[in-house]
C-alpha cells in the first residue's frame, strides 16, 4: 500500500464534513485502513497525477466567493438595465413570482429520481404539466421535458421516420439556422433533410415548391415552425398538412406554446406531432440557458411507442382515493433497453416542466388569451410604426407576426452598425440577419412608450 504521504493534508471545507482530521482518522481506523490511499490501490501509479491540480487558489469563504462573483456579474449588462428587443428563440417575458417561489424550493430543486413514495410531488407536478400542455395543445400525450426545442424537433422527426420508414424530411418554413444544424446532425444516420425555401416576398410557405418536392416520394415528414424563424404565423399551414398527408408523410409542427391562448394549436390543422420550447412559459432567459422541449401527439399506440422520453401516467394505488403515478410504457426507453430503446433518455429539463406548469396554472385560459393578444398587438404596432421610419422597410407586410419580426435598412449603414448605435443609446436589438436586415422582438413586457422610443431612436440612427 502507498503511504499516506501522497494524500493532501485534510481540509475541513464547509461542504466536506468528514474531512475533519479526527473524524477522518476515526473512520479509517474503524474500516481498518491505513489511509485513503488504500482505497485507490487499483489505480496504477503510471496514470496517477503526482502533483496537485493547477487551479486558482480557492476562494475559501463564502464572502470571498460572493465578492469574486459580484465582480464578474458586474461585467454583464442585463436586459433589465437596457431596453431589449432581442428574441429569436429566447424570450423576455415576465416570470410570475410564484413560479420562482416554487421552482426554487429545495424539495424540487435538489430532488432527482425518487420513487412515487418519496417524490410524489414531483410526479404529480410533472403529470399536471403534461396535462396542462395537453389542454393547450389539444392532444392527449405530452412528454416530460427534453433538453430544448431543438432536441424536441429532432426527436419528433426521428419519431416520424420510424413510423413511416421513409428517408426524407422536408422543412417548409423559415427555420433558425442553429435549429436546422441540430436537426441535420440528429437525423443524419437515417434521414436527409431538404429545406424548401419560403416565398422571398411573403416569407410564407411556397406550397408549389413543397408539392414538387413531395412528388419525389419517400418523405417521412413535413416540418414547419409557427411562428417561423421570421416571426410569421403562416396561413398556409393547414394546406401544408393536407399536402403532407396526401403524400403519406407525417406533419410535424414546432410551435411557441405561448401563442396558443389565441392561435389554433397545431393539432387543429392536421399536425401529427407538435413540438417546441417552453422557455416562454415562465423560464428566465439566463443567457440562453433556460430552455426545455416538449413533444405532443394524439394518444395512439404507434405514436406513443416512438417517444424516447419519459411519459408519466396516472394510476390508482392500493388505497382508494389516492393518486399514484408511474412511467407509461417504460420498455420504450433506453433506461429499460439500452441501445434497443428509442433514441436515449437521461437527465434533461424536468424542473422547467414544473415551472411551466405553475405558469400555465397562474395564467389560466384568460391569461393565455390576453398575453397572446397583447403580443400580437404590440408586434403589429411596432412593425407599423417602424415601417413609417425613413430608411426602414418592414418586409412580409401581409403576414401575421408574433413577437419576432424582421426589418430592412435601406440607408447606407449596415445592420451591424445600427445595432452598435442602438447599444450606445441603451437599446439591445436589431440582431443582423443579413448585411442590411435585422431581427427584433417585442413581448408583453414592452409598453407603447418602449416601442415609440425604439422608433424615435432608429429615426435618428438610420440614415
Amino acid at each position: 500500500m502507498t503511504s499516506s504521504q501522497d494524500s493532501v493534508h485534510p481540509y475541513a471545507h464547509p461542504y466536506i464534513p468528514n474531512a475533519v482530521p479526527a473524524v477522518r482518522q476515526a473512520m479509517l481506523e474503524e474500516i481498518g485502513a491505513a489511509s485513503v490511499e488504500d482505497f485507490y490501490a487499483d489505480i496504477p501509479d503510471g496514470i496517477r497525477l503526482h502533483r496537485p491540480l493547477d487551479l486558482p487558489a480557492p476562494l475559501r469563504s463564502e464572502a470571498e466567493l460572493a465578492r469574486h462573483m459580484e465582480e464578474l456579474l458586474n461585467r454583464n449588462t442585463s436586459t433589465r438595465q437596457a431596453l431589449s428587443f432581442l428574441g429569436s428563440g429566447c424570450y423576455q417575458h415576465h416570470v410570475p413570482a410564484v413560479v420562482d417561489e416554487v421552482v426554487n424550493r429545495s424539495e424540487f430543486l435538489t430532488a432527482y429520481a425518487g420513487e412515487p413514495y418519496e417524490d410524489h410531488g414531483r410526479f404529480q407536478a410533472l403529470w399536471e404539466y403534461q396535462s396542462m400542455m395537453a389542454e393547450l395543445l389539444d392532444v392527449e400525450i405530452v412528454n416530460v421535458p427534453v433538453y430544448d426545442g431543438f432536441q424536441a424537433a429532432g426527436t419528433a422527426l426521428r419519431m416520424a421516420g420510424r413510423i413511416t420508414g421513409r428517408r426524407r424530411m422536408l422543412v417548409a418554413t423559415a427555420i433558425d439556422a442553429d435549429k436546422l444544424s441540430r436537426i441535420r446532425d440528429y437525423v443524419r444516420p437515417d434521414h436527409d433533410v431538404t429545406v424548401v425555401p419560403v416565398d422571398p416576398y411573403t416569407g410564407c410557405v411556397d406550397l408549389d415548391a413543397v408539392r414538387e418536392a413531395l412528388a419525389a416520394g419517400d418523405t417521412a415528414a413535413v416540418y414547419a415552425d409557427t411562428p417561423s424563424a421570421l416571426g410569421i404565423v403562416d396561413e398556409a399551414l393547414p394546406h401544408l398538412a393536407e399536402l403532407a398527408h396526401d403524400a403519406g408523410a407525417l406533419f410535424v409542427v414546432g410551435c411557441n406554446p405561448l401563442t396558443l391562448g389565441v392561435l389554433a394549436p397545431p393539432s387543429a390543422y392536421g399536425a401529427d406531432i407538435a413540438c417546441g420550447d417552453i422557455q416562454p412559459l415562465g423560464l428566465h432567459q439566463s443567457f440562453g440557458g433556460g430552455n426545455a422541449g416538449f413533444i405532443a401527439t394524439r394518444d395512439e399506440e404507434t405514436l406513443v411507442a416512438e417517444y424516447p422520453s419519459r411519459l408519466f401516467g396516472l394510476v390508482p394505488t392500493t388505497v382508494e382515493g389516492e393518486y399514484g403515478f408511474g412511467d407509461v410504457a417504460y420498455e420504450r426507453t433506453s433506461f429499460a433497453l439500452r441501445e434497443e430503446g428509442k433514441e436515449w433518455v437521461g437527465t434533461a429539463a424536468a424542473l422547467h416542466g414544473i415551472g411551466a406548469g405553475v405558469y400555465l396554472a397562474l395564467m389560466g385560459p384568460q391569461g393565455m388569451r390576453e398575453i397572446g393578444d397583447t403580443i400580437l398587438a404590440l408586434t403589429a404596432y411596432a412593425r407599423r410604426r417602424l415601417a413609417e421610419v425613413p430608411g426602414i422597410e418592414v418586409p412580409y407586410a401581409d403576414a401575421l407576426h408574433f413577437a419576432d419580426f424582421t426589418i430592412r435598412y435601406t440607408g447606407g449603414k449596415t445592420a451591424a452598425e445600427i445595432r452598435a448605435d442602438l447599444k450606445d443609446r441603451g437599446i439591445f436589438g436589431g440582431v443582423p440577419t443579413g448585411g442590411h436586415e435585422a431581427a427584433y422582438c417585442v413581448t408583453e413586457v414592452h409598453t407603447k412608450a418602449d416601442i415609440d422610443r425604439l422608433v424615435a431612436t432608429l429615426e435618428e440612427i438610420v440614415k
Binding site: L49, V144, S181, D185, A348, A350, K423
Partner: protein, 530 residues
C-alpha cells in the same frame, strides 16, 4: 383569552424528555391533494397580464389560425396555485432534506445555496444570448474560465460546455467521433462502438442513435470489463470505446490503459464517461489514461442541483485532434476580451440553442473556485472514504453481498446485492427501497439490466457526515432485520409516505395509460366529448 394556569411544578425527572429513538420517526407530508384540474373555479385568476394601450389597436388573426375554444386550463387565484404547489413540494424529498446516498451512480452531493443566488441575479437570469459580446463579458469569462478548470481536471486540450446534460454530452462526443472518421473517409468502415454493461444506458443508446452498431462487454469473473472480450470485439470496424471508470459497480479497472491501447491500435478512439469522476478528482485524469474524449455531468461531480431530472449540464473535453469538431460557437479569449467564435467549419454544429445551460455553468464554476485543487482532492478522498466506511457497515448486514473483486476496495460507490435476502425472504431490492421511504430517505435499486441480482447502488459522496452514514446503514440493517423477522412490514411498505403502493398495471396498456387529465377522463372515467 385562556384562563390563567394554576402554578404547577414538575420534578427534573418529569421534565426530562426521553432520548430520541435509534431511528427517526419520520412521516412524509400527505396533503391528499387534489389534481390541479379539480381546483379553482371559472373566472379566478392567478396573474394579470399588462394591458395594452388601446390606441395601438388589435392584430387581425386569420380565421383558420384562430383558436376555436379556449384551452381548458385551471382557473385559480394566486394563493391557490401557490398552496397547491407548496403542498406538492412538501410531498417531495429533495437531497437537501434526506441522506441521499441511495441514488447511486448519480453523485447526490450538496449544492451550495450561495451558488443559487448567483444564478437568480438578473445579471445572469436576465441576460439574452444575442446581446453584444461587450455587454456579457462576465458570463463569457465564467464559461471560458470553467473550460480552463475542466481542461486541467481532465488533462484534455479543449472543452465545450454546450451539451444540455450528461447524456447530451455523451451524444456530443459520439457525434464528434462520427465527424472525425467522416473527415478521414473512414466512417463507412468504422461503424461499431464498444461499451460495457455497467456504463450508463445512454452510452449504448447515444451510439445507436448516432448510427453506430453497439457491442457491449460484460464483466469478467472479477467484475472488471472483460479484456478478452474487448480483444475479440475490437477491429477495423471499431470507431470507439465508450467506457466509465470506475464503472457503476464502484470497481476501478486497473487495466484501463491497456483497454485504450488495444482500441487505439485498432484505429479507434476512446471516450471516457466521467459520470463517476467524483472519487478520482485530482487523483487520475482521462488524459493520463490516454483517452481522446471525456465528458462530465456538472450536476453530479460539480454540485449543480439535480432539479427533479434537470436542467443539468454537460461538459465535453477533447484532445487537440478532436478540437475542430467541437460544437460551435466556442468561447475565445485574447487576453483581454472574450468573444464567441462561430466560424468553425468542421464543427458538429449546434447541440442546443445558444451556449449551454448557463445557470449550471455558473454554479459549477463557483463550486470549483470555492474548493480549489486541495478542496477537489479533499472531496474525492472524502467521497471514497465515506464509501468504504459505508461498505464496511453494510457488509455486516445479513442478506447483503458485494459481488465481484472480492477484497478489493471500491472507489466512490458500491453495487451491492440482496440476492441472499431475496432467497431467504422472497423480498426484492425494490421492497427495501419502499420501506426505506418510511425512514425519510430515498433508495433506488440500480440501472437495468440487473446483471447483479437484486441490486442496490449506494454512493455517499463527500457531503454526508459520519452520523449520516451511520444512520443510513442503520436503516438498511433495520429493514433487513424486519425482512427476516417481520417480512409483511416490508412487503406492504411504504407506511409513512404520501401514498401507498402504486398499482402500475394500467401503465403498459394503451387502453388504460393516462398521460394527461383529458386522457384519464376519456379512457378511465368514460367521459365523452373532447
Amino acid at each position: 383569552m385562556t384562563a390563567p394556569h394554576a402554578p404547577v411544578s414538575v420534578s427534573p425527572e418529569e421534565a426530562r424528555i426521553a432520548d430520541k429513538p435509534r431511528l427517526r420517526r419520520f412521516q412524509q407530508a400527505s396533503w391528499d391533494e387534489k389534481l390541479i384540474f379539480e381546483l379553482g373555479s371559472p373566472g379566478e385568476r392567478g396573474v394579470l397580464v399588462p394591458a395594452t394601450d388601446p390606441s395601438i389597436g388589435k392584430a387581425e388573426i386569420p380565421a383558420a389560425l384562430r383558436r376555436a375554444e379556449p384551452p381548458a386550463l385551471p382557473e385559480m387565484s394566486q394563493q391557490q396555485v401557490l398552496r397547491h404547489y407548496l403542498r406538492l413540494s412538501q410531498e417531495n424529498l429533495g437531497a437537501d432534506l434526506n441522506i441521499d446516498v441511495g441514488q447511486g451512480t448519480c453523485t447526490m452531493k450538496y449544492s451550495p445555496k450561495i451558488n443559487d443566488q448567483f444564478v437568480r441575479d438578473p445579471r445572469i437570469a436576465a441576460l439574452h444570448p444575442l446581446q453584444d459580446e461587450d455587454t456579457v463579458q462576465g458570463v463569457l469569462g465564467i464559461i471560458h474560465s470553467l473550460e480552463q478548470l475542466l481542461k486541467e481536471i481532465s488533462g484534455m486540450d479543449r472543452v465545450s460546455l454546450q451539451p444540455g446534460a450528461g447524456s447530451a454530452a455523451i451524444y456530443t462526443n459520439v457525434a464528434m467521433i462520427r465527424a472525425y472518421f467522416a473527415a478521414r473517409g473512414e466512417l463507412e468502415q468504422r461503424d461499431e462502438v464498444i461499451t460495457t454493461i455497467f456504463s450508463h444506458p445512454s452510452n449504448a443508446a447515444c451510439a445507436k442513435t448516432a448510427g453506430f452498431k453497439v457491442i457491449t462487454l460484460h464483466p469478467d469473473a472479477d467484475g472488471y470489463p472483460d479484456i478478452e472480450a474487448l480483444k475479440a470485439a475490437v477491429g477495423p470496424r471499431t470507431a470507439a470505446l465508450l467506457i466509465t471508470n470506475p464503472e457503476d459497480t464502484g470497481i476501478y479497472n486497473p487495466r484501463i490503459e491497456e483497454f485504450v491501447r488495444i482500441v487505439h491500435e485498432a484505429g479507434g478512439l476512446c471516450s471516457y464517461d466521467q459520470a463517476n469522476a467524483n472519487g478520482i478528482l485530482g487523483i487520475t485524469r482521462a488524459r493520463d489514461a490516454g483517452f481522446d474524449l471525456c465528458h462530465f455531468n456538472l450536476h453530479k461531480t460539480f454540485s449543480t442541483p439535480h432539479a427533479c431530472g434537470g436542467p443539468a449540464a454537460g461538459a465535453c473535453a477533447v484532445s487537440e485532434d478532436l478540437a475542430p469538431y467541437l460544437p460551435r460557437p466556442t468561447v475565445e479569449f485574447d487576453g483581454s476580451t472574450y468573444r464567441l467564435d462561430d466560424d468553425r467549419p468542421e464543427s458538429v454544429g449546434k447541440m442546443r440553442p445558444f451556449y449551454g445551460v448557463v445557470p449550471n455553468l455558473v454554479r459549477a464554476y463557483a463550486w470549483i473556485m470555492s474548493l480549489g485543487a486541495q478542496g477537489l482532492r479533499a472531496a474525492a478522498e472524502t467521497a471514497v472514504l465515506n464509501n468504504n466506511y459505508l461498505l464496511h457497515k453494510v457488509r455486516q448486514i445479513p442478506g447483503v453481498s458485494i459481488p465481484y473483486a472480492a477484497g478489493r476496495p471500491r472507489v466512490e460507490q458500491v453495487r451491492y446485492s440482496w440476492e441472499k435476502l431475496h432467497e431467504d425472504t422472497g423480498l426484492h431490492s425494490e421492497d427495501i427501497g419502499l420501506r426505506a421511504a418510511d425512514f425519510g430517505t430515498h433508495y433506488w435499486t440500480s440501472h437495468h439490466p440487473y446483471v447483479v441480482p437484486e441490486p442496490m447502488t449506494l454512493e455517499p459522496t463527500e457531503s454526508y457526515t459520519r452520523a449520516d452514514l451511520d444512520e443510513y446503514a442503520a436503516i438498511l440493517a433495520e429493514i433487513a432485520r424486519e425482512a427476516y423477522e417481520d417480512p409483511e412490514t416490508v412487503h406492504t411498505a411504504p407506511h409513512r409516505s404520501t401514498i401507498h403502493r402504486v398499482r402500475p398495471e394500467a401503465l403498459d396498456s394503451p387502453a388504460t395509460w393516462a398521460v394527461s387529465w383529458r386522457a384519464y377522463r376519456r379512457k378511465v372515467l368514460g367521459e365523452a366529448g373532447r
